[in-house]
């Protein structure tokens, strides 16, 4: 294993922040305790520009005063739209300093969605990253005229905009300095007045169904959540984290704001979306978070690149990975491994694992987390076996993404870990997971009835996930509770459970299974264009674009094989045998958030998909062998077109149920 240095942080550091505090106060505390330590870095103009805690505190103060000068006051909401830029994180703190509430929004949301949230949250102040966002917001303003102030960070191209209420962040800070001079005590007073139970942030749930809801989380709960993570992984100054996931997403808020302010480590923002991988390689974070999709993407690119390698290298790689699969995870868990194997592993580490981690930018990683969706066992094992301490946690926007996490040394592949400090779990009779504790939401913004639905009298939050808790207290999530259906055979049908198994194959990008109230399970498959494309090229199989590739008989065969393997799995699992996939078809287009088929967090909107592709579903169950379909698609630039194809329906290999005992 390469050097995994642990920052030796004074024990005072963690319990420094007394339980009832707020983010602005934590910031002030860091500015006092470690004024010159780097708080944030951003790769800008080719190098890593750094802000010390002191500088962050000062800029936040300037911004806050600037906002105040514009009349931003307690309980006002400040929308933030943009990529992960240090100054955007600062604006969030600025709002909180004034007892206001930051409302980060997804930057890739189209004007319509954005208008809804602006209206819903009654936003009058918004921080926008650049011209693109400003243009969008100006469009929104036509629906929502109360949007008074649009403050932009990057003035590029905005020089000649004369719309009212436009202001650059620079100008805001200038106003702030002036305002501060006139009302020197305003800032402190505002910070002091804030209470731990004030709402710290409103995060909009992507909402697999219905309109997004604004989740109100208090300083107290987010800080508690943050501290839980920080303590169990001993994070602190000297640690580096990469902030590259949407600010509007609860995970990023937990890692890049809550844990950052509790732990006092360093936030690193990439230079641009194209350079994330490279920037990650430079920084070499010690603490990393990514949804399974990211890890999957990385692994796919690894296998693709290795396939072009020279034979000898491929042989070496194969050998080493075999060894890693055998002993790697155990070594990481500190389980007993023979001296010889340890030696072998050392060698492998020198030749393959080490360099590989280096290429992935994971050489320095002490802790890496994944969550948001189930992660494939192979995928999970891969990272742990090459010495990346990848762990899972479990939570929702409503719980600050903080319910369960896997403790070092107690990592089970299938589970999402044990109840996190300060949280308690319960499984309802219908199998739904209920949680109570520090991180549970205060309320949905202006939605008492919605709040009532999920928060019961005892203060339990209904996660909507179906799961089981094993003897050691590890929680295992099976599916969305509401998605769990019953087949006519009476068997329980957990679509996501099956779909995830499918998605663990690099060739399969998305899958949608149907089976509720039916005799058999059938599936839509989305191939992974890159992986399958490569596969095709290596076989010298010519294809013209996605639609053509998806239709190739060879590809169908490939997919059929994957499905066969999944069916074999299912057959072996108790009560799942009946949910083996009978027939499938490979979709002619990628499911896409822009076509409302996926949520912004890329969860399948199964209801919507079912309606949209009704004909296909009917074809699947109607015993047809192929079906013509034409679909509308939205392109990046907003134009729309249609794609059409005739999809063939393929039966899959099924297996007799195996008794678990056998």
């Amino acid at each position: 294993m390469t050097s995994k240095y642990r920052p030796t942080l004074p024990s005072t550091f963690l319990n420094m922040s007394q339980p009832n505090t707020t983010f602005p106060r934590l910031l002030a505390e860091h500015a006092r305790r470690q004024p010159d330590a780097p708080a944030m870095r951003e790769k800008d103009l080719g190098i890593w520009q750094a802000w010390t805690w002191q500088q962050v505190a000062r800029e936040v103060r300037e911004m806050a005063c600037g906002l105040a000068s514009l009349g931003f006051a307690a309980h006002d909401n400040l929308a933030i739209v943009g990529a992960n830029r240090p100054r955007l994180y600062m604006t969030a703190l600025a709002a909180q300093s004034l007892r206001g509430v930051p409302v980060p929004l997804y930057q890739d949301a189209v004007a319509g969605e954005m208008t809804f949230m602006l209206e819903d949250a009654g936003v009058r102040f918004v921080i926008a990253e650049d011209q693109e966002q400003v243009d969008k917001l100006l469009e929104c303003r036509e629906q929502w005229p109360r949007l008074a102030h649009i403050i932009y960070e990057d003035p590029r191209g905005l020089r000649n905009y004369d719309q009212p209420g436009l202001l650059s962040l620079e100008q805001l800070r200038e106003r702030g300095r002036a305002f501060d001079a006139q009302h020197p005590e305003h800032f402190e007073r505002a910070v002091a007045s804030a209470l731990p139970d004030d709402v710290a942030v409103i995060l909009y749930t992507s909402g697999t169904t219905g309109r997004p809801k604004g989740v109100c989380q208090t300083h107290a709960s987010f800080i508690a959540a943050g501290r839980g993570g920080v303590e169990s992984d001993r994070l602190g100054p000297g640690d580096d984290i990469m902030s590259y996931l949407p600010m509007a997403w609860v995970g990023d808020h937990l890692f890049s704001v809550a844990q950052w302010l509790v732990g006092g480590f360093t936030l690193n923002c990439p230079e641009s979306s194209e350079t994330v991988m490279n920037d990650m390689r430079e920084i070499g974070p010690t603490y990393y978070f990514g949804p399974p999709r990211t890890f999957e993407g990385l692994l796919t690119s690894v296998s693709i690149r290795m396939e072009d390698a020279a034979t000898l290298k491929r042989w070496l790689y194969a050998k080493c990975m075999a060894l890693a699969r055998r002993v790697g995870a155990d070594i990481l868990n500190g389980a007993p491994v023979s001296a010889l194997d340890r030696l072998r592993y050392r060698l492998g580490d020198l030749l393959v694992y080490g360099p590989l981690r280096n290429m992935l930018g994971m050489s320095r990683i002490r802790v890496a987390y994944t969550a948001g969706a189930a992660i494939g066992p192979d995928l999970f094992r891969f990272y742990r076996s090459i010495g990346v301490n990848l762990k899972q946690f479990y939570g929702q926007t409503e719980t600050c993404a903080y319910v369960c996490l896997q403790q070092d040394g107690k990592v089970k592949l299938t589970s999402v870990g044990t109840a996190a400090p300060g949280m308690e779990l319960r499984i309802a009779d219908n199998g739904e997971v209920l949680v109570r504790g520090v991180s549970v939401l205060k309320e949905y913004y202006k939605r008492p009835e919605a709040t009532a639905e999920v928060l019961d009298a005892e203060g339990y939050f209904h996660t909507g996930d179906a799961g089981v808790i094993d003897s050691e207290g590890h929680l295992r999530i099976i599916d969305r509770a509401k998605d769990v259906g019953r087949m006519n055979t009476g068997a329980m049908f957990a679509p996501n459970y099956i779909e995830n198994k499918l998605k663990f194959f690099p060739q399969i990008k998305e899958a949608v299974c149907f089976g509720h109230a039916r005799d058999e399970v059938c599936a839509f498959i989305n191939i992974d264009y890159e992986a399958v494309g490569n596969w095709a090229e290596r076989r010298g199989l010519p294809y013209g674009g996605y639609v053509d590739l998806a239709g190739k008989p060879e590809v169908l065969a490939l997919v059929a094989e994957c499905i066969g393997r999944v069916n074999a799995d299912l057959a072996a699992e108790e009560g799942m045998a009946d949910t083996q996939i009978a027939r499938f078809l490979v979709l002619h287009k990628e499911l896409d958030p822009d076509d409302d088929e996926l949520t912004r967090t890329r969860k399948v909107r199964r209801g919507h998909v079912a309606d949209k592709y009704r004909v296909l579903v009917d074809a699947l169950y109607g015993g047809k062998t192929e079906q013509f379909i034409e679909t509308q698609v939205k392109f990046e630039d907003g134009r729309t077109g249609t794609v059409s194809a005739t999809l063939s329906i393929v039966p899959a290999q099924r297996y007799p149920a195996v008794r678990a005992a056998a």
Partner: protein, 354 residues
């Protein structure tokens, strides 16, 4: 494979523009330096100093000089031998005509004279391009050959036409043993190497390369051809001149004009082409190749236990040398430096192929 670049992020342009931005490279260079300055002096034999290390180093220096002109500025020169000669003879005259002239000053003086001479013969390059210029530079070669042969004053009226230098001393210290000479040369080469490196990665280096790659565009962005080309000639011939002086003083000790004939010019051109145009490191590779290969080739027969006349042997040696050059140009026209660079890149990307 040995690169671990995570966490080596740059927070300032100074760090980003450092000579060796990657830590692993820095260590490697340190190790190399340690070997060159400590291990070699302790272990190497006098013969190896005379036959390998000293000529290798001096030729590397000359190659660096030539590379600046040809590789970076794109001005082909076939007259390098002449510039070396000027350096050598100038240094010689400084030494014999001025008593107690410190070695270093003599060398530098030699370099400066070569520089003047170089600028003089560089002037045509402002009008003449490419192969025309290449051939034109032969004028310098033959002129100097003739000059050093015919003008007695140059050789301090030595009857034989050959000159021999006095003891190499500087500030009272005398470089007598091969080891001392080696260390002297090594130090100079390292210093000049670094200076050259700084030049080529700085503003002037960009001007040179701009002239080389696309002279019209260079002019349009305000680069003066006169300045760019003449500085290239000046710097190049200064370094070459110093190398020439070292060659005469340290390696040969006593020499005749033929020591700096056209063969030397061509030999140096070989070095930078085989080593790699436009690469300081390449200059070293090229020199190593040209110095070691012949040694190697005339050992081969012994190893194979073949008894062949020395004449035949030397012919064979020439033949193989020529053949190898063609071979190299075919397999890697960009020279050993390119091979090296690709190798390094592969190590950085390991285990990925690209």
């Amino acid at each position: 494979m040995f690169y671990r670049e995570n966490g080596q992020f740059k927070t300032s342009y100074r760090a980003d523009l450092a000579l060796f931005p990657v830590a692993q490279d820095r260590w490697a260079m340190l190790a190399l330096a340690a070997v060159a300055f400590v291990a070699v002096p302790l272990l190497a034999s006098d013969y190896s100093f005379r036959a390998i290390f000293i000529p290798f180093l001096i030729l590397s220096l000359a190659a660096i000089g030539l590379n600046i002109l040809v590789g970076y500025c794109g001005q082909i020169s076939l007259g390098t031998g002449a510039f070396m000669a000027v350096g050598a003879y100038a240094a010689y005259n400084l030494q014999v005509r001025i008593d107690g002239m410190p070695l270093l000053l003599a060398l530098i003086g030699g370099g400066l004279c070569a520089m003047v001479f170089g600028v003089l013969f560089g002037i045509p390059s402002l009008r003449i391009r490419g192969l025309y210029l290449a051939v034109a530079t032969l004028a310098a070669q033959f002129f100097v050959d003739w000059f050093t042969n015919r003008v007695k004053w140059v050789t301090n009226d030595s009857s034989s036409g050959s000159v021999s230098v006095r003891a190499l001393q500087m500030f009272g210290f005398e470089f007598s043993t091969p080891t001392q000479k080696y260390l002297l040369v090594l130090t100079l080469v390292v210093i000049f190497g670094l200076l050259a490196r700084n030049l080529v990665r700085g503003a002037i280096g960009r001007e040179w390369m701009a002239m080389r790659d696309m002279d019209v565009a260079a002019a349009v962005i305000g680069i003066r051809p006169v300045y760019a080309k003449l500085t290239a000639f000046a710097v190049s011939s200064f370094i070459v001149g110093v190398a020439g002086a070292l060659w005469g003083f340290v390696h040969l000790g006593a020499w005749e004009p033929s020591a700096f004939g056209i063969d030397k010019s061509l030999q140096l051109l070989f070095m930078i082409i085989i080593g790699g145009l436009g690469s300081i490191a390449g200059s070293f590779f090229g020199a190593a190749f040209v110095v070691l290969l012949p040694l190697f080739l005339n050992y081969v027969p012994h190893w194979l236990g073949l008894a062949i006349s020395t004449a035949t042997a030397s012919h064979l040696e020439h033949m193989i040398f020529g053949a190898l050059i063609v071979f190299f140009l075919i397999v890697e026209p960009h020279g050993l430096a390119r091979l090296w660079a690709t190798g390094r890149q592969k190590l950085r990307l390991w285990p990925f192929p690209h």
